[in-house]
């Protein structure tokens, strides 16, 4: 119901916190304030484009004090001049048209801002402002106060201007220009009518076509020559060799043709070929601007931190400038950037960034605290032990896996095919040449070139880019974002899937415990809590924490039957709790739910149900995957949950516990050395090493816009149960590629039969080439879509 939801952020309103303002209902003061700001500045249109578009502003007091530091601000700015500063800020909350609208009207909220422009795809806003009238800090505060807190991390540091490579687009533009004009100018000659008119202008047309083909031949196709040359040098026959060869032979023969007036040449086919192949490249290059697959610790770490000088004053310093012995101030929700020793009395640190588990760890004065933790609560003071680059967490990144920028090690499917295709093609050309040379030297040269032209594996080269590009898009629509098209190929080859436990197969949400049965009174709760005190079973511990604090009483006798339950006697009564067999109480046996039954003074009361914290569909997923893949669960936790997991997951699943980040990495490495193709699915920084090491690292994320470590793909957590489908789909994609290879080879056979017999007319080439391209492209597009639909 609309009325129950906050007008600003759309969250459900808890009745007692409800705030009424201007006839609208808000869930909290923050949301109301944002509404007030907007309505005072005539920006309430914000709510017209989308219902409840906002976010609750967070308390950020002191968080951005470092923006007072000129040096840091300079590093963040994109452009800097006396009266004009330009800054690009990443704002994760950008999600709808209202967001665009409000962020592009910032100048109404803050004088000094001249323009602001949103890039929706990248979730960035580019603000131009006058530093004399406002400051970056003010802008950041303004954004935060309206619920659009920018995300500034160490990654922004030294960002400077990113160079955008647009050369492919230029090449396509030029190729299309050449292709289109040449096609038009070639038409008269296609119909080869011996007419005075055509004969008169033939030379002019041909030389014009020659001239027009030059930019395409020299500039647009240049990438293929470079790649072919590289592959010859590294002795790997990739698909670019026959392509480059085909283009060059086409150009040379066509030039010879028009110089000696043999015919019009194949310039039209050549330019069409270049254009279509570049188009394929572009199609494959689907990128997700708003996702980053190359993240390391830098995107998690703050850019600056508050340092306490010996004389007691506070100063913001860049994280890189922190030195051993410095004293730092860490505020609520701030990330600890370096290893150090706690000086303040107490701290509660959340290491969820590192371990993926959201549990606060209490630290006392003098304890060592590690980088990557987040302080919750009061401001704490710490002394630095190591600088950023030497801290434990950052050291993980100096592991080799992160250092080498892996040039795709494996061979792509196209390259594998071309290893056979290229030599076969060259052999055929040479054999036909030798055969014809005894009959007619002129025809021999014609046949030789014709073979290379026709067999130029245009369709072959287009198959993979179009298939994989389309698969990438379809997966993207289903919230499975892959880094590039090659990952699809890799995905099809995987035979071992490694899951992280915490945060991957479990949700981050805390398990809820519910009670079913007769309601327990305070006295009974007291007995229960005291009975639980003595037990170390994980379920007992959790139940113990769940029951509110009670008065302590001593047990008379306490008995724990391992794997069954507890029987405790008190002066006031007795408690028996545990499995249904233990209590000899027959309830409908839903073994999938974890239950602890309670019996007090011999009377059955009810049961506590431990709601499963595992992701929805986990069991079905593992069941689907287990026949085809070796499944492994790799966890950093202790094996407290081994029993539950063993019960839930198929028997063949391997469970490995107590793995530190480096051990996880080594474990993957070991699997690979046994010849396995490993896919790792994980989250959190503790998996980062393993994700980088595995053949494919997939990071699972509750909110894809927020952080995920470096990986090959990002999966939205809601799609977790679809992993089996994605795996199958990637296999089907490869099947499509093979089918289409067959199809394009068929075309090649037809074309070659023309070529070998020496009957290849330019017009035949001009028909076969686009025709094969179109069939291939439509075939793979249809097939991939059909496979996507069939569940």
């Amino acid at each position: 119901m609309d009325t129950e939801n906050c007008f600003h952020c759309g969250n459900e309103i808890i009745k007692k916190d409800e705030i009424l303002f201007d006839d609208k209902k808000f869930c909290c003061n923050g949301c109301k304030t944002v509404y007030e700001i907007f309505s005072q500045n005539d920006l309430s249109c914000y709510y017209d484009f989308q219902a409840a578009p906002g976010a609750t502003p967070q308390d950020i007091q002191g968080k951005y004090d470092f923006l007072d530091n000129e040096e840091i601000v300079t590093k963040l700015l994109e452009f800097q001049e006396n009266t004009t500063h330009i800054v690009s800020l990443y704002i994760p909350h950008i999600h709808c048209s209202s967001c665009i609208w409000i962020l592009e009207n910032l100048q109404k909220l803050q004088p000094g801002i001249s323009t602001s422009q949103v890039n929706f795809g990248e979730k960035k806003v580019r603000v131009t402002y006058n530093p004399e009238k406002t400051s970056l800090k003010d802008i950041v505060y303004l954004l935060s106060s309206i619920g659009y807190e920018p995300y500034i991390s160490l990654e922004n540091f030294d960002e400077g201007k990113k160079k955008v490579d647009r050369s492919l687009i230029y090449k396509i533009g030029v190729a299309f220009f050449c292709f289109g004009n040449i096609m038009l100018l070639s038409f008269p000659e296609y119909f080869e009518v011996e007419e005075y008119w055509i004969n008169q202008y033939r030379g002019f047309f041909r030389w014009l076509i020659f001239g027009l083909s030059l930019p395409s031949f020299i500039y647009s196709a240049s990438g293929y020559y470079v790649s072919a040359w590289k592959s010859i040098k590294s002795r790997m026959l990739n698909i670019d060799i026959p392509i480059a060869l085909g283009i060059i032979v086409m150009f040379v023969r066509s030039t010879v043709d028009i110089v000696f007036d043999y015919g019009q040449g194949f310039f039209d086919s050549m330019c069409g070929l270049v254009f279509f192949m570049l188009l394929g490249k572009l199609f494959q290059q689907k990128t997700y601007d708003f996702l980053s697959f190359e993240r390391d610790y830098k995107s998690y770490f703050p850019i600056a931190i508050t340092k306490v000088l010996p004389n007691g004053t506070e100063e913001s310093v860049q994280v890189y400038d922190i030195e051993k012995g410095d004293r730092l101030l860490i505020r609520n929700q701030e990330l600890i950037p370096v290893d150090g020793i706690l000086i303040s009395e107490k701290a509660a640190i959340d290491y969820s960034f590192v371990t993926g588990e959201a549990v606060q760890i209490e630290k006392k004065s003098g304890d060592k605290i590690f980088a990557g933790g987040k302080q919750l609560g009061k401001v704490i003071e710490m002394e630095v032990l190591f600088s950023v680059s030497q801290s434990y967490l950052t050291q993980l990144w100096s592991n080799d896996v992160f250092q080498k920028r892996v040039e795709q090690q494996h061979k792509t499917i196209t390259d594998r095919i071309s290893r056979y295709f290229t030599p076969a093609l060259l052999a055929l050309a040479v054999v036909s040449f030798i055969y014809w040379i005894f009959i007619d030297v002129q025809t021999a040269f014609n046949v030789f070139t014709a073979i290379l032209i026709v067999a130029c594996p245009c369709a072959l080269a287009l198959t993979a880019p179009f298939t994989l590009g389309n698969v990438l898009r379809i997966l993207g629509n289903r919230k499975f974002y892959l880094k590039n098209a090659l990952v699809v190929e890799q995905l099809a080859k995987v035979d071992t899937i490694v899951f992280d436990k915490t945060g991957t197969i479990t949700t981050n949400k805390k398990t809820s415990i519910t009670y079913e049965g007769q309601i327990l009174n305070d006295f009974e709760l007291k007995l229960l809590k005291n009975a639980l005190r003595g037990s170390n079973h994980p379920l007992s511990r959790r139940l113990y924490d769940f029951i509110p604090n009670q008065q302590k009483i001593e047990t008379i006798s306490f008995e724990e039957v391992i794997g069954k339950g507890i029987f405790a006697k008190f002066e006031e009564g007795s408690v028996k709790l545990g499995s249904s067999q233990f209590l000899e109480h027959m309830s409908e046996n839903t073994h999938k739910k974890t239950k602890v039954h309670v019996e007090i003074n011999g009377v059955y009361k009810g049961s506590y149900v431990f709601n499963n914290q595992y992701r929805k569909g986990l069991e079905q997923l593992f069941e689907q995957l287990t026949p085809k893949y070796q499944l492994i669960v790799l966890s950093g936790d202790n094996d407290g949950e081994r029993k539950i997991l063993e019960k839930m997951l198929p028997k063949s699943t391997l469970l490995v516990f107590n793995q530190k980040p480096e051990q996880k990495l080594n474990y993957i490495e070991q699997l690979q050395s046994n010849g396995k193709n490993v896919m790792m699915i994980g989250d959190g920084l503790n998996d980062a090493g393993a994700l980088a090491q595995s053949n494919i690292g997939i990071s699972i994320s509750e909110n894809v816009n927020v952080f995920s470590p470096a990986c090959d793909g990002i999966l939205d957590a809601s799609q977790f149960d679809k992993i089996a489908f994605f795996m199958k789909y990637s296999k089907n994609a490869m099947k499509t590629i093979y089918m289409s290879f067959g199809l394009s080879l068929l075309y090649n056979v037809v074309g070659l039969s023309f070529a070998v017999t020496g009957k290849l007319d330019p017009i035949v080439a001009a028909i076969i080439m686009p025709l094969s391209t179109i069939t291939i492209v439509s075939f793979v597009t249809i097939m991939t879509n059909v496979f996507a639909r069939s569940k």
């Binding site: 005539d42 249109c45 484009f49 048209s97 665009i100 609208w101 592009e104 009207n105 109404k108 422009q117 949103v118 890039n119 929706f120 795809g121 990248e122 955008v164 647009r166 687009i169 230029y170 533009g173 030029v174 220009f177 289109g180 004009n181 100018l185 008119w197 008169q200 202008y201 002019f204 014009l208 027009l212």
Partner: protein, 66 residues
């Protein structure tokens, strides 16, 4: 018949101009963000209308308060 030379020259020149325009547009970053402009164009008008009215109002209010 030599008009054909002229016509083809013109047609090629026009095509080259278009190619140049395309390259210039790409270079200026026009195609980098292909989503936001499509949304942005939808709200320009209403903003101007509403604000021109209300800006005056708020200025009046300010004057009153002074």
């Amino acid at each position: 018949m030599s008009v054909i030379y002229l016509l083809i020259t013109i047609s090629i020149i026009v095509a080259v101009l278009f190619l140049g325009a395309f390259i210039k547009a790409v270079k200026s970053g026009q195609y980098d963000d292909d989503y936001t402009p499509s949304v942005r164009m939808l709200f320009d008008d209403e903003l101007v209308k509403e604000n021109s009215n209300k800006l005056i109002q708020t200025e009046k209010q300010k004057q009153k308060s002074i």
